[in-house]
């Protein structure tokens, strides 16, 4: 009965509705039944003052007015007193940049329309998938709905202030719990757009960055404590001289299961960061000492504030001095950019917020940033802050972001 493919000429119908009552009758008469029905619906849609009124409400503005303060109160300063001076340098840099941006901005005609479009274009943006835990039995649990879970060997898993915490069952045998079960492995998958912290059963703390995963035993009863990661993670390893802690690093191209790692990091008790998104593995040591063992090439012993860059394609590694705090700031929502290119920054933002960023012009990829910025909860705010630097601007269309040259 319905002609789905019927092509309605809405303009013609709208024109009819604009005409005075008497003229309409003669115009409606020749219409097809389907067109008359559409006309009736159109009239209903247009005449509905309630609906039209509700449509004009600005939901985004209302949200900002009512809840604008909530997202902002959760900002935690990452800087410890040792690096307090950096904060002032960063603040001064931002002030200078803001001043420069204002000078450029002042000469812009009608800049306000577009500024809104970043907020509107990305309103309510949420990452496309959620954080998942795969248990030893192969069951998948969404971590945000996880309250408490017990593995087959009695190890309990629960959320403690947003951190997933593993507790080994006591030594005494509880009926119904099989402590003889072999090493039970869990997998935690953190998709783009999220961070997740985790306390393993030996007390080791792990922070996983966006687009990363970790495979680990529910309890450590072997002579080694061994976990596998993909992506980026920061570890604070609980000291345990009898059980060395070994992190197997897999670059993103490879699946973690059934392949040998691209490198291993062996530690006793220490804190360090491993990043392996592309073909390069960056291992940065904050405290203690670690041994970096690539699958090919020689091993490297790292001291605090050392970073080793290992290229999995060429098998070469480079050791350099860095500020480890800068490379671990991500877990506190801070971003420290030392000669970071726009291309690198775009890649980081894509992971962090689960967005798509492209460039209108290849040359924009080479713009360099030296700044410290807060990674805001909402991607739209982050882009607006970056625009303040006056180096680039962002256009949003269908939720896709394009980096454009900054125009006066």
């Amino acid at each position: 009965m319905e002609q789905e493919q019927f092509n309605i000429d809405w303009e013609k119908l709208e024109a009819i509705l604009e005409k005075p009552e008497q003229e309409r009758v003669s115009l409606i008469a020749p219409l097809l039944p389907e067109e008359r029905k559409a006309l009736e619906q159109l009239q209903q849609l247009r005449g509905d003052a309630l609906f039209t009124g509700a449509l004009q409400l600005d939901t985004q503005q209302a949200w900002k007015k009512t809840f604008g303060a909530i997202g902002k109160t959760s900002i935690k300063p990452v800087w410890n007193f040792r690096h307090q001076w950096r904060r002032w340098v960063a603040a001064a840099c931002l002030l200078i940049l803001a001043g420069a941006a204002w000078l450029l901005w002042r000469d812009r005609p009608a800049g306000i329309m577009r500024e809104q479009s970043i907020q509107e274009g990305l309103a309510g943006h949420i990452p496309s998938s959620k954080i998942q835990l795969i248990t030893a039995s192969g069951k998948t649990i969404e971590v945000d709905s996880l309250q408490q879970f017990r593995e087959k060997d009695g190890t309990s898993i629960h959320m403690q202030e947003g951190t997933m915490t593993y507790h080994q069952a006591g030594a005494s045998h509880t009926p119904g719990i099989d402590t003889t079960a072999g090493a039970l492995m869990n997998t935690l998958i953190v998709p783009r757009g999220y961070l997740q912290s985790l306390v393993l059963s030996d007390g080791t703390k792990v922070w996983l960055n966006a687009d990363s995963r970790i495979i680990f035993p529910v309890r450590f009863d072997k002579k080694e404590r061994r976990v596998s990661i993909q992506g980026e993670a920061y570890f604070e390893v609980k000291p345990g001289a009898q059980q060395p802690f070994i992190v197997s690093v897999h670059t993103s191209g490879h699946t973690v299961q059934n392949t040998s790692p691209d490198a291993e990091v062996q530690v006793l008790g220490t804190s360090f960061n491993v990043k392996a998104y592309g073909n390069t593995i960056y291992t940065t040591l904050a405290t203690g000492s670690v041994l970096f063992r690539p699958s090919t090439g020689r091993s490297v012993q790292l001291s605090p504030d050392h970073q080793v860059m290992y290229n999995t394609q060429s098998g070469t590694n480079i050791l350099q001095n860095v500020s480890a705090v800068d490379h671990t700031a991500w877990r506190n929502d801070e971003l420290v950019m030392n000669k970071m290119t726009m291309a690198e920054l775009a890649e980081l933002l894509e992971r962090r917020y689960d967005v798509q960023i492209s460039f209108s012009d290849e040359s924009l990829k080479h713009i360099q940033y030296n700044a410290a910025l807060h990674l805001t909860p909402q991607v739209a705010d982050m882009l607006e802050n970056l625009e303040q630097t006056g180096l680039v601007r962002f256009a949003v269309r269908d939720r896709k972001i394009t980096v454009m040259p900054y125009e006066k």
Binding site: E2, I8, W10, E11, A38, Q41, L42, Q44, L45, R46, L50, F51, T52, G53, A54, L55, Q56, L57, T59, Q60, A62, W63, K65, T66, F67, I70, G71, M113, E120, G121, A123, G124, I126, D144, S145, P377, V396, R397, D398, R399
Partner: protein, 189 residues
């Protein structure tokens, strides 16, 4: 839109993080304002009531137990707040006799009213599903002070593109209207 599935069953606000709560706000804000406007007849008052409702929900999210669906809970809460607002104003203005009749009639939730509310919710949701640009153009096109040429120059596109977006919006909204109209015709007969 990923939490929509939960809205028809029992619902816990305590489990929501701020992003999910924001998505709830975005999906229901206009609709709840519309429900309030029908009672108060004033968009500003309606917005205040709904913003206040969401603020209280977030503050007390751990202690609010929702036995019915989120949708029913939200609608009932804001309607009651709107009715209270009217009563307060009536007492202040001493116009009690005339309007109190109205408020009592409003309180009885008839099937027709619930159906109409659902239709508004469906229509607003259908508009939110339109692609960004098209939605913006359609909303602008519903304003009495905006002609197609005005929208075209505001958005920096041609009048023909504006027309195309409005046409495609109508086509999309018709799908919702079709099912709603079937009900209305049935009811009139």
């Amino acid at each position: 839109m990923h939490i929509s599935k939960a809205h028809d069953g029992p619902f816990s606000l305590a489990s929501l993080d701020i992003r999910e709560f924001e998505s709830l706000f975005q999906q229901y804000y206009r609709w709840l304002c519309l429900l309030c406007f029908r009672i108060t007849g004033n968009w500003n008052e309606a917005e205040d009531i709904v913003q206040d409702f969401f603020a209280r929900c977030w503050q007390n999210r751990d202690s609010i137990a929702i036995r019915e669906s989120w949708k029913a809970f939200a609608a009932r809460s804001v309607k009651n707040a709107a009715l209270n607002q009217i009563r307060k104003e009536n007492i202040r203005h001493k116009h009690e006799t005339a309007s109190q009749h109205n408020t009592e009639a409003e309180q009885e939730d008839t099937g027709v009213e619930a159906e109409e509310e659902q239709r508004y919710l469906d229509l607003l949701a259908a508009i939110d599903r339109l692609p960004e640009q098209r939605r913006k153009i359609f909303i602008l096109s519903r304003r009495p002070d905006m002609r197609y040429a005005d929208i075209a120059s505001l958005m920096g596109i041609s009048v023909n593109t504006v027309k195309m977006h409005v046409r495609l919006s109508y086509q999309e909204l018709r799908k919702v209207l079709n099912s709603a109209l079937v009900f209305f015709y049935f009811f009139i007969k």
